[in-house]
């Protein structure tokens, strides 16, 4: 056999300097054709690999696999627990004992969590049972049970759900649906009551139970409504259907209402719409309009959209705005062309607007 002077560039130790060119790589166990295709490019490949920082035979060492998972994927979800059982045939993982789910938006703790997977073992759904606690920023929710849909980010809290935001506390609902991505939550069923600390009066809130309606406590004020939801990002409560505000100075009713919270989650402003009626407890004066804005800081309630006013037998209408000062109990009018009529006690005056004697027309 004729030996050539060929040196295979794929060999690093040059132990076969005089092996025939055709047999070289088969002697060393290398893929003959693959290696020779890159003959002469060895130094460039080596430099390129060094610059890329990856091992030449990547993926061969299981240790690499263990190291790799920490550096990849955006915002993974971690679940830790005392023990677990992975049922691959059922696409299910059962976590038991001190279970903690952590992702970029929230943290969930529970005694037990059942995680449902899709057929590619992707995270799909969690059912948490026992001492469920969810933490997102300064907000904390507790419940006996919770269902967390990974795709939508929606969490349904069941079995005595309670949401706490600083000094504010929502409880009594049958279910609370909470979206961890948007921070939006709403109550479903039950007899919920919500305490919200006023931004003005810095005293401990007093809990008021809301009977068939949903309730919100603003220090000494309570808001009831047929349904309620809250959006965390905009810090806005929405009340819909037969809304009533009960305060020590006045009562307000409307079709719908929105309460806006400040950064400390105290109520800063309330906006009511649809057949708004204000009744003072001091002298039973009443004002009505299509809209009302209550500025909690100043204590002023501003009625607009064809407001009318009745004070001790005097009816007023035609003005643009009616203002009620909660602190002094005084009404004032602004804009428009105010008309007044002295009421005859024997007659019942109809303004053609909302029924001022309470209730909706």
């Amino acid at each position: 056999m004729k030996l050539s002077a060929y040196r295979c560039p794929a060999h690093r130790d040059y132990s076969f300097p005089r092996v025939p060119k055709s047999d070289c790589c088969s002697v060393a166990g290398h893929g003959r054709f693959r290696r020779h295709r890159f003959a002469g490019y060895g130094p460039f490949i080596l430099i390129a690999l060094l610059m890329a920082g990856s091992p030449p035979a990547g993926g061969q060492d299981p240790l690499d696999l263990l190291r790799r998972d920490n550096a990849t994927s955006v915002a993974p979800t971690d679940i830790t627990s005392d023990s677990m059982e992975f049922l691959a045939d059922k696409y299910q993982i059962n976590f038991v004992g001190n279970v903690q789910i952590v992702d970029d938006r929230f943290e969930l703790k529970a005694d037990k969590v059942t995680t449902m997977l899709d057929e590619k073992f992707r995270h799909k759904r969690n059912e948490a049972v026992g001492n469920v606690e969810i933490i997102r920023d300064d907000n904390r929710a507790t419940a006996g049970r919770a269902v967390f849909e990974v795709e939508t980010g929606e969490i349904t809290l069941l079995d005595n759900p309670i949401i706490t935001q600083g000094a504010n506390k929502l409880a009594g609902a049958e279910k609370i649906r909470y979206n961890k991505e948007t921070g939006f939550f709403r109550t479903v069923g039950g007899r919920p009551n919500l305490q919200i600390k006023s931004s003005k009066v810095d005293t401990a809130p007093k809990t008021v139970k809301a009977t068939p309606l949903h309730g919100i406590t603003i220090t000494r004020s309570v808001i009831f409504s047929g349904a309620m939801d809250f959006h965390l990002d905009t810090r806005r409560f929405n009340f819909n259907g037969n809304v009533h505000v009960v305060d020590n100075r006045f009562k307000l009713s409307a079709d719908s209402m929105a309460a806006f919270l400040n950064e400390e989650f105290g109520v800063s402003r309330i906006e009511a719409e649809g057949q708004v009626v204000i009744t003072t407890t001091k002298n039973d004066s009443k004002a009505a309009g299509g809209k009302a804005v209550y500025d909690v800081e100043t204590g002023l309630v501003t009625l607009s959209d064809n407001p009318v006013l009745r004070q001790v037998g005097i009816h007023s209408w035609g003005m643009e705005l009616v203002r009620y000062n909660k602190e002094t109990g005084d009404f004032s009018t602004e804009g428009g062309r105010t008309q007044m009529r002295i009421e005859n006690a024997a007659e019942d005056v109809d303004f053609g607007l909302p029924d001022l004697n309470g209730g909706s027309k």
Binding site: Q60, P62, I79, D82
Partner: protein
């Protein structure tokens, strides 16, 4: 006379041998085999590869095999591969079950499982981890499976 004396002993042997086979050589003294670059494969009823167990070393006694530096690959129909790594594992060849008190690392393209102390069943594809569980789910698929490793290339301690 001598042949008559041998009859009870022969009968006893005839009974003991099948029993020892049934009970996995537990009655008679077992032979222990030490293997390097251990590899064991399981197949589905369709004939397709179901799982592969690799170990840098294995000590086999009866139907039990103690595998050092375990790397198990499960080939699941719709879910792709599942990789199980552990420094050591006691594997039962009859039940296709494994157990160990060391760390366990499970890898898939969508998740990782790490913990300490484990039991697994290759037949039903179930894995129990006894303590210090940490599972990570990835939103996008991640290549955590790598290429199939030869037993000799397995590391000392995953």
């Amino acid at each position: 006379m001598t042949s008559w004396r041998m009859i009870p002993a022969g009968l006893l042997l005839l009974i003991a041998l099948p029993l020892s086979h049934i009970f996995g050589n537990n009655i008679l003294p077992q032979q222990t085999f030490r293997l390097k670059h251990f590899k064991l494969e399981g197949y589905k009823t369709s004939g397709e590869l179901d799982w592969v167990l690799l170990g840098s070393e294995a000590t086999a006694a009866g139907h039990r095999v103690v595998i050092t530096r375990l790397q198990a690959r499960l080939y699941l129909d719709s879910s792709g591969e599942l990789l199980i790594l552990s420094p050591s594992c006691e594997f039962d060849k009859i039940d296709n079950t494994g157990r160990g008190n060391d760390t366990i690392h499970v890898r898939n393209n969508s998740m990782t499982i790490d913990g300490v102390g484990f039991d697994f069943d290759l037949g039903s594809c179930r894995i129990k981890v006894r303590k210090n569980v940490r599972v990570r789910f990835f939103k996008d698929p991640v290549d955590l499976l790598g290429k199939e490793t030869t037993p000799a290339a397995l590391p000392e301690s995953p």
